[in-house]
Symmetry: C2
Subunit: 555 residues, 2 copies
């Protein structure tokens, strides 16, 4: 067998940006042809971007997909390279469209294939938008028999149909998979295992090409692969990097090597890099060059500031510290030190007088109406929330005034338990670490500091506090975060029952505490309904979790 | 054939409230037995409430369903009545559960049936949570052969499988359908046509029992039916009413009559009643006895105030009018007049001085930082939003302080075009008329006034204005609402392309205007991601529409 040169187009498309996506596709085809690649493989729905949800059922969206596909096909005229590309096709049968693949050669579409297994669970809803394909396709090419698949087609465990088994029966001796498989911590190992197992079981090599980039809540990590029929990884593209990668496969060579999984897989570094990509793409794809965020002196906002700087550069980031009556002096100084180290602009806008003015005005109204008012000095829940909301108000003012996207800094532990204020610290356009547990926030901060110490020691070591009343500490209202996060992990990510969590915690938390935490999670659904997109980094993120607000069940 | 007495249990369950739902089910069974009903039929998932989303896959949720089912079964011991009840069953095969029906007689479950067609589109996502059934069931009972179906099983157009055809082949001579079919304007006619057509086509009577009540965004309208094999409606339960209805069917009688569809079907009255139910159930099921809302002097807040009064009574409703520099004198007086007529408490909390204080503070910060500030008297976008947000801030303060649910008053036309402020007028726990177009807001207001004039004439006739800058009118930024709403209807509800809308509008709107409106809808998705639940009254509500925020496609 002759060696084959694969061009793996690990591309970052933008949903609906047909012109830019097409331009990139055409130029990458030309580049790969010049480098004498035999085939260039683009990810699932590379032409349209993914996920596009309801856009997939718009007549014009489908028409534009086909129009741009035709331009790409035209561009291959006179070229030798084969092109494999994901696009949206129309359906003759229904209003749904087809998640499709085109094999293009010398100015012609040699064949089209329609995705057969449509994931409909968690963050996927493809059954709603797409009509499934009915047939597998094997094509003779360069002396081989190549089978094609799209993403879920190889994640076949929950389906009766097994496209890979059908390809084997049709005597495929090599399989391509084009994917748009989103990131979560741990996905790399799961994917590796799956693809290796399939390659060995069916005895054919699998070339896997995955999308990279951020799309709203989802981050795609790339990490395209070439796995031989012995389950050995011969090529690995890096995570979170957009590039056209080349791999020369010499089928006759008894592969003497395997490319190991990078040590960073599943590490804080990986999660950090995912979030950087998520922030960058959300901002740039939505036309925001600058961001603003509140700096509380705590670890959450410090981490988000560092992520924003790494995503957009220090000039793009504005930090605002808004001390109140209950802010420690340290909070403010620590924020300024953080800003100095990150080289970002930091403004100090105290809310003390604003808070006093508002409380006085609200008291005034109540008194005039003959209603009872709280004792002077008493801090009610409404007043706690008012402080958070005055900060949200000011940040949104700056956001509107300076065209800066407001980054939300709350973490997953807070969002889970409702330890956050609607329209206050929950305000913003993107919740950067809303899927990161508090204990992981520390891990990410430590990792970032290991690359250059930007987060002051004092921020890393102080006890977490909302600072909305005198001497308030998070642990007055919540269990220690190591305990809380473990309970949350079992409840949210593992969907375990109260009883099973009691067993798993082996006495580290009482049954009553576990019950209280579960209650908090269930009864704060109304807050989470109003969050901005939350970048997903865990297997069960908010985005893929669907719970009623009106719910009397005590889990 | 002997006459049969049907008890149609048009029930309003609460999601997850097993104790209350079970209590009601047991007491209704006892009542129907006493009235000598032959059979009592409860809606789909009456035991658990519907939709319960991810709760359906919690081990304890399923266990509790079975435990309470056993109690209900036990309660039928010694009774003659047959009971048909929807509940969640466990699955041996997967983590998903089963949307099931039990036929219970004399302390025993005679058989269970599993829903076969699982709707997964629009507001339905059943494939995610449930495992489909594989078999139809026909049971001999009182000399008849009764087939059972659950909701979507009879909405079979988009599926290859046709459960009703299978029941016909199995010689069923009567079919029951238990449903949890949510309301939208027009659904009654669609359901009537479907059930009549099936009854005639398959030549069997169909008894249809539907849930009523509000569950987050969804409102269930009931309107249970008995349709004979000639497609004649022999019995109709009213819309939006929870009750146990009896119908005596005399099969031998050549039905001389048909119960006509009430004149109100699809009318403003119907939509109004749906919204009243939606508000009442959202508040009461979530433990709120009191609400608060901002009264702007405009038609939207006036309508929401009237709806709240009809849902919860005047004592439960607090209106707050918060005039600014740009509020007309009329706005304030009209709100007070509205409150007088509705007999609700109205407070006047001007935001003028609060606004001045904040703007001065924000200017002060900017000046100190050496940044440029707007000319005195200039009203920037940030200042417009600030006014709306100061109102949101004050309403949320009252909400926290007095345990009142804040009702959001924005309409569908505003939400569609982004003519609304995040954390300002969009703040709240329930968006009451967020699925009602502005032109329909007037229709609902006129209907309400026809039942007793509560909304002052001046509110009905003034030109809509946000009153956030001098002499501002909605029509400065938006086309006239009759035109806008028609474009929105074609775009959102009918999913038509730009070109098709141009044709439909027949010159009533230019292509450029249509393009502008579509652009506004697409590019305000980020605002709609952060709304509270929006009561659904149209076929394509926000809740069933899934669009990416990051999206460069120009529809």
């Amino acid at each position: 067998m002759k060696p084959l040169r694969f061009a793996l187009a690990q591309m970052n498309p933008t949903v609906g940006d047909y012109s830019a996506n097409t331009r990139k596709i055409i130029s990458w085809i030309a580049a790969a042809e010049k480098k004498k690649a035999d085939i260039i493989i683009f990810p699932e729905l590379a032409l349209t971007g993914y996920p596009m949800w309801d856009l997939a059922n718009k007549k014009r969206f489908i028409e534009e997909s086909l129009r741009h596909l035709a331009r790409i096909v035209e561009s291959t005229r006179g070229k030798k390279i084969a092109v494999v590309l994901g696009f949206v096709d129309k359906s003759a049968k229904s209003e749904r469209s087809r998640n499709s693949l085109a094999w293009i050669e010398r100015g012609k579409i040699r064949f089209k294939y329609v995705k057969r297994l449509l994931p409909t669970y968690d963050v996927f809803l493809e059954d709603i938008f797409f009509e499934p394909g009915q047939e597998t396709v094997v094509i003779p090419w360069k002396g081989r028999r190549v089978g094609v698949t799209i993403c879920e087609d190889i994640w076949d465990k929950r389906y009766k149909e097994k496209p890979l088994a059908e390809l084997r029966r049709k005597k495929a001796d090599m399989v391509l998979n084009i994917s748009a498989s989103p990131y979560y911590r741990g996905v790399a190992e799961v994917r590796d295992r799956l693809i290796k197992r399939h390659a060995i079981h069916y005895n054919f090599p699998i070339c896997y090409v995955n999308q990279i980039g951020g799309q709203d809540d989802l981050i795609f990590d790339g990490r395209s692969l070439f796995v031989d029929q012995h389950g050995r990884v011969l090529f690995r593209a890096p995570a979170f990097a957009e590039n056209l990668f080349y791999f020369d496969w010499k089928p006759s060579l008894k592969s003497p090597y395997e490319v190991a999984m990078p040590a960073a897989a599943g590490s804080p570094r990986e999660v950090y890099e995912a979030l950087v990509l998520g922030v960058r793409d959300y901002c740039l794809k939505n036309g925001f060059k600058k961001v603003v965020l509140g700096l509380s002196g705590g670890i959450d906002s410090a981490l988000v500031a560092a992520l924003a700087v790494d995503a957009l550069g220090p000039k793009a980031v504005l930090g605002v510290t808004m001390p109140s009556h209950f802010s420690s002096r340290g909070s403010w100084e620590d924020s300024e030190e953080l800003a100095r180290r990150l080289k970002i602009e930091c403004r100090v806008h105290p809310i003390k007088r604003k808070f006093e003015f508002m409380v006085k005005a609200y008291r005034g109204h109540k008194k005039k109406e003959g209603k009872s008012v709280p004792e002077p000095g008493q801090v009610t829940l409404a007043m706690e929330n008012l402080q958070a909301r005055l900060r949200g108000l000011e940040l949104m003012y700056l956001s509107n005034d300076e065209c800066r996207l407001l980054l939300t800094t709350g973490n997953k532990s807070e969002l889970a338990t409702g330890y956050c204020t609607l329209y206050g610290d929950m305000a913003g356009g993107l919740a950067v670490i809303g899927d990161v547990y508090k204990t992981d926030v520390y891990r990410l901060a430590w990792y970032r500091n290991s690359q250059g110490e930007v987060i002051p020691e004092s921020i890393l070591t102080k006890a977490p506090s909302a600072e909305l009343r005198p001497n308030q500490k998070d642990e007055d209202s919540l269990p220690p975060y190591e305990v809380l996060d473990e309970i949350l992990y079992f409840y949210i990510e593992k969907n375990l029952s109260r009883e099973d969590i009691v067993k798993k915690m082996k006495g580290r938390a009482s049954a009553a505490l576990i019950q209280t935490v579960i209650h908090k999670v269930d009864h704060n659904e109304y807050k989470r309904r109003q969050t901005p997109p939350i970048l997903r980094v865990t297997e069960k993120a908010w985005f893929g979790r669907r719970m009623p607000i009106t719910n009397r069940f005590e889990s």
